[in-house]
Amino acid sequence: MMERLAGLFSETLGRPMPPLAEKTAFADLPGWDSVAHLALLLAVERAFGVAFASAEMVSMRTVGEMAAVLRGKGVAP
């Protein structure tokens, strides 16, 4: 999952990503801003075929938190 997320982030933010760790905060990703954050959420929803609830969107600030939400929706680790 992490590899797929890294690919999506790189594509959405338009630049290579550093190695992603569970603790990597979205706000620390190169090229991140608030609109890019929404684009990331949309890209992940589409790629994994899921829909995030508002509470989930608000709760995800790191890559690990996003991975946990995805796992909770049945996405394989």
Binding site: D33, V35, H37, S54
Partner: protein
């Protein structure tokens, strides 16, 4: 706070925008092709109206009021209070409402009052009008407003430089409606959106997003619970045109189909206090008919969020007017 009012009617709504527009694609040189493409996809803005230098929001509010006058929605002598809602009034003093009272030929007995409010300002104005109309002496309230935020954004800030359009509106609220209005209002003090004296507009996009997609759906559900209505009973949900992604998420969280939650940001951007009346007038220009039961929700600076359940049975919604710059 949830309030109910009986016997009110929104008689008419008009909106006016500058004729000049700024294209979002034109920001590619400043922010890069990909950032601009991402903004267009997520926020949903393609272009937005921009007031010429020196032209105030009151110019567009006045144009909208004159459109309602010409359509016969009100006569100056029938107005007992005029409100002007804005973050960009003409001056600190006198009030812009007083200036518009004079320009529109309203009588000396008219109460003229400015309200400082942003994106939730139209509903703040309706709520204030509802209270004024609770007194027998007040027959009709002319609710005016508008903002010219496009000239106050930081040109280097991607989030706001491509977002804010300029517009003004006018609405007449009177008595005589058969149904009750329900208006919920809430505020959580925050500097997430701020406009310091003499400074530039500041916004923490992530904080505003998180607030919008959680508190607004909760409030919409609370209003429906208070009125005892189902989602199917609502003809149209009019949301403050903040960001297309946010609108879709609120629709999703409240269970309304997107077809009943119109987004018209493509040609307008976020017009702050004017966004809801402008949306109504844009829909009127597209031929909207037969909308009676409406839910309006607006949210922004404060942070403030408000939701109103009103009927539009008696409301004449005028197509939006595009105004040329005033002659010298």
């Amino acid at each position: 706070m949830m309030q109910r009012f009986g016997g009110l009617a929104l008689r008419g709504v008009a909106a006016a925008v500058p004729e000049t527009v700024r294209e979002v694609a034109g920001f590619a040189e400043r922010f890069g092709e990909q950032a601009v493409a991402r903004f267009r996809q997520i926020v949903g803005v393609e272009r937005f109206p921009v007031a010429p230098e020196g032209v105030q929001a009151s110019y567009y509010a006045e144009a909208a009021a004159r459109d309602l006058l010409a359509a016969g929605v009100f006569r100056p002598e029938e107005i007992d209070a005029v409100l002007f809602v804005s973050q960009t009034p003409d001056a600190v003093a006198p009030t812009t409402a007083s200036r518009l009272q004079g320009r529109l030929g309203l009588g000396e007995q008219t109460l003229a009052l400015d309200l400082n409010q942003g994106c939730a300002g139209f509903l703040t104005g309706l709520l204030t009008a509802a209270h004024l109309l609770g007194h027998p002496a007040c027959r009709n309230v002319l609710l005016l407003g508008g903002d010219t935020l496009s000239r106050l954004v930081d040109p280097a800030d991607q989030t706001s430089a491509m977002l804010f359009g300029d517009a003004g509106f006018a609405a007449v609220v009177g008595k005589g409606g058969a149904d009750a209005w329900t208006i919920a209002s809430a505020s959580a003090p925050s500097e997430a959106i701020a406009l310091p004296h003499g400074g530039r507009f500041q916004m923490s996009g992530t904080d505003v997003f998180n607030f919008s997609i959680t508190r607004v759906p909760e409030q919409i559900q609370a209003v429906l619970a208070a009125t005892g209505e189902s989602r199917e009973a609502i003809d149209l949900v009019l949301l403050h045109q903040a960001n297309a992604f946010i609108l879709r998420q609120i629709a999703r969280m409240t269970g309304f189909p997107e077809a009943r939650v119109p987004c018209r940001m493509a040609g307008r951007g976020n017009t702050s206090v004017a966004s809801l009346p402008l949306l109504l007038c844009d829909l009127a220009g597209e031929g909207m008919r037969g909308v009676k039961r409406a839910l309006l929700s607006a949210f922004g600076v404060g942070l403030t969020w408000m939701t109103a359940r009103l009927n539009l049975d008696f409301c004449l919604c005028r197509p939006t007017v595009a105004c040329p710059a005033p002659r010298e």
